[in-house]
Symmetry: C3
Subunit: 158 residues, 3 copies
């Protein structure tokens, strides 16, 4: 894919392309092995703080969670870009997205939250953004995040 | 594997082979990339409604959840078949199954629920149905489903 | 990687290298397909019993859960070694680790628990132990385990 065009499409959506998540001691924001890129789970963060922390169906609304999925998947793209050496040129397609929603037992709208991630990928990457998906509700997420998005992509080997 | 034999074995179990799940806007029921097929998370559905909705250990029994896992993994096979162009001939083996059970905190029998999926795969596919597996308990699942099954398979490239 | 050196490094940490988990009927502790090894979810077990069963933030402390993640990932290495024919010589690197923590809704320290797994992998495997990671909180895990660790590795094909 063309890195410049992807960034243009993100900009056209009015979204700032986030800085890639920092590498921490023992795990990597993105690991590329052969033709597969595994991106670490992303939670919606701005300036080092979680956006709309809490449980969906309790303190966090459906719209806030959906927005969080959108932010998180954009961070995943940024981590992927960094893992590919600073460009998405080698990205072939997204293959799998797992969406974990911190949700109360009565919550049933996981697909709507996950659409925040899925729709953004298609808006930005076109057909190459379509993917297999799983969405589930969990008790809690790192730092109190309402949603966590895990992306796997197919890439052209270096 | 031989598509006809697989369908015969499903029929011999007295199970109707379900229609493949419909494709929705931004994600795919099954994505094939190289020699890997990623199937979207499947929940037990009949005629557009979830079978036995609710939380296992609360409204849903162990047997109902196990039956749900069995139904869901059969839908995954149907999605896989559709993703491979309408035949399982190119299926080489199942490699991984993740089973998410909507369960109360005191629930401990996730392996028994997951066996509903695992046993069916081996009944229908023989040794090629054996897989690495993970089973966990979650707060809630899409549409109130009691169980969601995520399948990854190895396939012969087209 | 060198199997003997890996076992030496585990021993130097004062940890016994656990026996591989037994194969059960319909699923496998480790499935190798091409250049990818999928290890089944591991929970911390000693002598057939879960270590520190319960929910983190309720009966189980952060330190106990972190220790559990460390034990579980060591079992994953043992399952991987068995799946590779009794040696880690063919292991190229760890690519992905998923950590499921049985946790109360207020829990936020999933990354600390997951570090129990991630840090051990780097202590024992060096840079080849670094991986993409996702950590989430779930309601419950098999047999009441406080943590479950799912490892995927890149291997040299046989």
């Amino acid at each position: 894919m063309d890195d410049g065009s992807i960034l243009d499409r993100v900009a056209a959506l009015g979204l700032p392309f986030p800085a890639p998540p920092a590498s921490v001691a023992s795990y990597l924001p993105c690991l590329v092995e052969g033709s597969t890129a595994y991106v670490a789970g992303q939670i919606p963060m701005v300036d080092g703080a979680v956006v709309n922390p809490g449980i969906v169906g309790d303190r966090v609304s459906l719209d806030e969670a959906t927005d969080g999925a959108r932010r998180a998947v954009l961070q995943a793209l940024s981590a992927l870009r960094e893992g590919l050496g600073g460009s998405l040129d080698r990205l072939e397609r997204i293959v799998k997205v797992q969406v974990f929603v911190a949700a109360v037992p009565a919550f049933v709208d996981h697909p709507k939250v996950a659409n925040g991630a899925s729709d953004l990928l298609v808006e930005v990457l076109g057909d190459a953004g379509r993917h297999a998906r799983a969405a589930v509700g969990v008790t809690s997420l790192p730092l109190g995040a309402p949603v966590e998005v895990v992306v796997t992509a197919a890439v052209r080997p270096a």
